[in-house]
Amino acid sequence: MRVLVVEDDKDLNRQLVTALSEAGYAVDTASDGEEGYFLGDTEPYDVIILDLGLPKMDGLSVLEQWRRSDRKTPVIILTARNRWSDVVAGMDAGADGYLGKPFHMEELLARVRAQVRRASGHAKSEIECGPLRLDTKSARVTCNGQQIKLTSHEYRLLAYMMHHNGRVVSRTELVEHLYEQDFDRDSNTIEVFIGRLRKKIPIDVIQTVRGLGYRLSEEAEQG
């Protein structure tokens, strides 16, 4: 999952990046409205966290422009002016959620998880796929009740595929959604991680669709 953080306060920006990275997200950041708008307009993020009080271009305008050019990425707005009038204005501009400052990081992470889930059409915080079960709250994957130990990159890959189970996920899509902007996109790491994952879970869960990408199979054997 790839997240964009647009926040001009350096410390808060750093804290957001740390917390989101620890929770298994690939994080890009922008510290002003123009940069934020550009990134959100060109990169395929899963969630965008947008502060409303930004230099160069304010958050509401950034959000309105994204929506006008049909960018449907879920956006959570951060606002210090958390009166209802501001909240209403933010939601009307196209936000999907809001968080009033000051907030606890756990609250933010919960909102991000909810938005990711909502965008991929899952109602519950636990996602099941055949023998696999992903608990988005604790970032843990179990297979037939047994916890699987995953590295951060392996988790990101599997979590993304589980959020989008039932459809074919291309290699490009995986690269775009799992790594930060400055990642070297020509490497073969996706294949490497798929290979590692296949050793940790039943081998036929991740199926290769020739020429298109990968798909999770619901019909994999239970055990």
């Binding site: 808060l12 009166r83 209802w84 009038s85 909240v87 009307d92 009033g100």
Partner: protein, 460 residues
Amino acid sequence: MRFNSLAFRLFITAAAWTLLVLPLAGVVIFGLHRSDVLSTFDNRLQRIVNEITVDSMGQPEKGAVVPNNTYESLFEVTQSGWYWQIKPLDEADGRMLVSPSLATAALPLPVANGIVPDASGARWMTARGPRGEPLRLVEVIDTLGHEPDQPRYSIVVAGPLDWSERQISEFRTRLTIALALAGIGLLAVTLFQVRFGLLPLRQIELGLANIRAGAATRLEGELPVEIEPLQTELNALIRSNQEIVDRARTHVGNLAHALKTPLTVVTNEVRGEKTGLGAKVAEQAQIMKDSVQHYLERAQIAARTGVIGRVTPVAAVVGPVVRTLERIHEDRYVSIAVECPADARFQGERQDLEEMLGNLLDNACKWARHTVTLSVEVRPATERGRKRRLAITVADDGPGLTEEQRARIGKRGLRLDETKPGSGLGLSIVIELAQSYQGSCALAASPKGGLAVHLDLPAA
């Protein structure tokens, strides 16, 4: 016209003056006219008596003769009220000449009644005639041929007083009617003058009512020079009031922004620290966070309640707030049923209504099982002179609160359940906002089992 009003003062002084002056003028005019009528009458009598004297006394050799000219045809009509009489004074049995009208009667002699003559030698008195009618008598005493050694005669001419009295009383009636009409006319003109003169003040009154009702933002219209400065100053005052409010609101908003971001950083920086400095900072940051929230929210209320003339259509606020909450609580599958008449208008700031409805509906959405209902009702004024009220009820079908919980909630920062997100200030800010609008916020049990919050606010 109210008792304590400029119009009443102006009218009552003008009316008092009119009511005082007109009767006085009446009395004076009547007096003048009366004396004029009487003196004209006297002049006529005097002329007649003089001519009769000349006619009848002119020939000493014939003695007193009947005057050949009648001067007044009524001397010929019996008991007409017009009489003359020539009576010798020195011969006790001398022949007395009388007008045919007097027949066998006789007129009293002023000289015999001790009346003193005036400068022209005439004696005046009033007496009763043969019919008992009031008469004005004038008597001249002369001698035959005006010779001093000739016998003296008393020549008396009488005219009916009731004739002139009738004339006078007729005049009095006409005068009274004319003056009464003039009085009524004057009062009507005064009334018009007062109304017309004070029209600009009425215009100001309407203008202020419009401002208060939110239909206008300044005092409009062209006013007379005397009160134009008032209009200018008032408009400047309204504008500066609005500017001060806006500035205060901006500053409060900026302060909130400036404080809340660092607070977020501090809070998250020491997250999870259980010992020493970290724990202390976390604890103090929480206190700061609560204070910032509490006082800044209230500063914004205070910044807005003094504003005159803001009117907010309720439906225009309900729509966006409900839409927003439905999106925020999308995962909870709660539906919000709204019942709001299109003409319901709140006498106050849009932001305040948004804040109250937002907080109440947000709370209700957090606790509701399936549905939240919002109903808005416009209640007619209960007493004369009072405004209409808005009755807003937000109810949910959640677990609700016990009576004891309902009594405790609303105190500052109190949260009954720490597991639900929110600052816990929501309800208390709603209560304070409602109170600042002379309204109220009451908690009750909803018929569907949950909590029902009743808001009472001024309608416009």
